[in-house]
């Protein structure tokens, strides 16, 4: 797999530092799994985190903290065995981060139509979790379908899992990550051939340009 579109160095380090929202962090994790180059950078960030942790002035734990912890060592495994995660979706191998999310909620759920040619499986926020304006979903875009031109209040991050799409920045193929800031407007179009499946996160709602698209947004909750 030849990856040509990477997250910025700052994004990889934010990920290593644990500064990203769960949703955007998951998209970066999917890219890291596919990209040794960014993984090496993330490793370096984690090593920096480790040495900063080591250098922190310790804050005393409660006097009985160790005794409590020792008493808990023998408690049974903290999590009951979960069903094995689905590894494939439409024949596509899912990144580990998606497998784990699916495992926690007991399955992936099914594709739901979002618009003609566009289907979605919602992953985050998890049911019952706090809604902080960030969302994570899988998108399946039929060949030749355009995602209506949209800008963003926040950041959008997309990692391609299968197929490909093309926008003003070029072609995005499996493993490639597209990172879009608040000021960018773009119109990704799924390439001909197979459907394009991506993992997509936004940290604020999309804002479509055309009235029809805005209507679709209000109806579909996109």
């Amino acid at each position: 797999m030849s990856i040509t579109h990477h997250p910025t160095e700052a994004t990889v380090l934010d990920h290593a530092a644990g500064r990203m929202h769960a949703a955007t962090g998951a998209v970066v994790a999917a890219h890291l799994q596919a990209c040794p180059q960014c993984r090496a950078l993330a490793r370096m960030g984690e090593a920096i985190g480790g040495s900063l942790l080591e250098a922190l002035t310790p804050e005393a734990m409660a006097p009985d903290a160790l005794a409590v912890a020792m008493a808990l060592l023998d408690r049974p495994a903290p999590v009951p065995p979960a069903p094995p995660p689905p590894a494939l979706l439409d024949g596509v191998e899912l990144p580990r981060v998606v497998q784990r999310l699916a495992q926690r909620r007991g399955g992936l759920g099914r594709w739901r139509w979002l618009a003609p040619g566009i289907q979605r499986i919602s992953l985050l926020p998890e049911p019952g979790a706090r809604r902080d304006g960030t969302v994570l979903y899988l998108l399946k875009i039929a060949p030749g379908t355009a995602i209506p031109e949209h800008g963003h209040h926040g950041h959008e991050m997309v990692c391609v899992l299968a197929g490909s799409f093309t926008d003003a920045l070029g072609q995005f193929r499996p493993g490639d990550l597209a990172e879009t800031g608040p000021e960018v407007e773009h119109t990704p179009v799924a390439d001909a051939g197979t459907s394009c499946i991506c993992l997509s996160a936004t940290d604020a709602p999309l804002r479509f340009r055309s009235r029809a698209a805005r209507l679709m947004q209000s109806v579909m909750g996109y």
């Binding site: 040794p36 920096i48 985190g49 900063l52 804050e59 734990m61 160790l66 020792m70 060592l73 903290p78």
Partner: protein, 228 residues
């Protein structure tokens, strides 16, 4: 020499002749506990290699004294980390506790070829903090299975030095950073603030924050890759 006050949890251990204990052994860990336990806030003298050896003792022998020594060293640091990132006390204490319990349960995933002990503990604390935030409204404790992927397929060595050397090189390089850059690196990892907030706080423009951080990262990276 301090008065030795073994913790009740360690009473079952063989405490005889601790001065003969070799580093990494249970007896050595117990002795370390006795020396540092009564003064939990004193920095304990646990080197990276020793901490790694203790984690491996847990993996291979479920060594409770090794756990105690790791707990004494890391729990107060993890708590400090969580508090710097805004956790308040009952939660910071509980989560630090859970992070160390995750170290116990997942010790067999630790790979000393890949990461220093402090780095591994950092990634666990980081992930469990994120997960706790996500689950806040439901409360309760985070499942300890949401751990970093140590089992991925990255070649252990990469272009990097071996872990011990790499860690020392990194520490030296961090100490040698200009104060401003060092401060930005700390802020980037230990404050839950967007870069734009850091900009406001330090009174330097966002572009400058980013370029100085980048410069710092280049230096640290060069040090870790053995170029200097």
């Amino acid at each position: 020499m301090d008065v030795l006050l073994p913790h009740p949890a360690l009473a079952s251990l063989d405490m005889a002749r601790p001065h003969t204990a070799a580093p990494g052994t249970a007896r050595w860990a117990a002795r370390l506990y006795c020396m540092t336990g009564p003064r939990m806030s004193t920095p304990s003298a646990l080197t990276g290699e020793a901490a790694g050896a203790l984690i491996q003792r847990i993996a291979t022998a479920r060594d409770r004294a090794a756990f105690a020594a790791l707990f004494i060293h890391f729990a107060p640091r993890v708590k400090a980390y969580l508090r710097r990132l805004g956790a308040v006390d009952p939660q910071a204490e509980d989560l630090a506790q859970e992070v160390l319990l995750a170290v116990w349960h997942k010790a067999d995933r630790f790979d000393p070829q890949r990461a220093a002990a402090s780095t591994w503990v950092f990634t666990i604390a980081r992930n469990m903090r994120i997960d706790a935030l996500r689950r806040e409204p439901r409360g309760g404790i985070v499942p300890a299975d949401d751990l970093p992927d140590m089992e991925d397929d990255t070649p252990a060595a990469d272009a990097m030095l071996i872990v011990g050397e790499r860690d020392r090189a990194l520490r030296d390089a961090m100490a040698a950073l200009p104060a401003e850059q060092a401060r930005l690196v700390r802020l980037a990892f230990l404050e839950d603030k967007p870069h734009s907030e850091i900009e406001r706080q330090l009174g330097i423009p966002l572009g400058t924050v980013k370029s100085r951080l980048r410069l710092a990262m280049q230096r640290l990276r060069a040090a870790m890759e053995g170029r200097r």
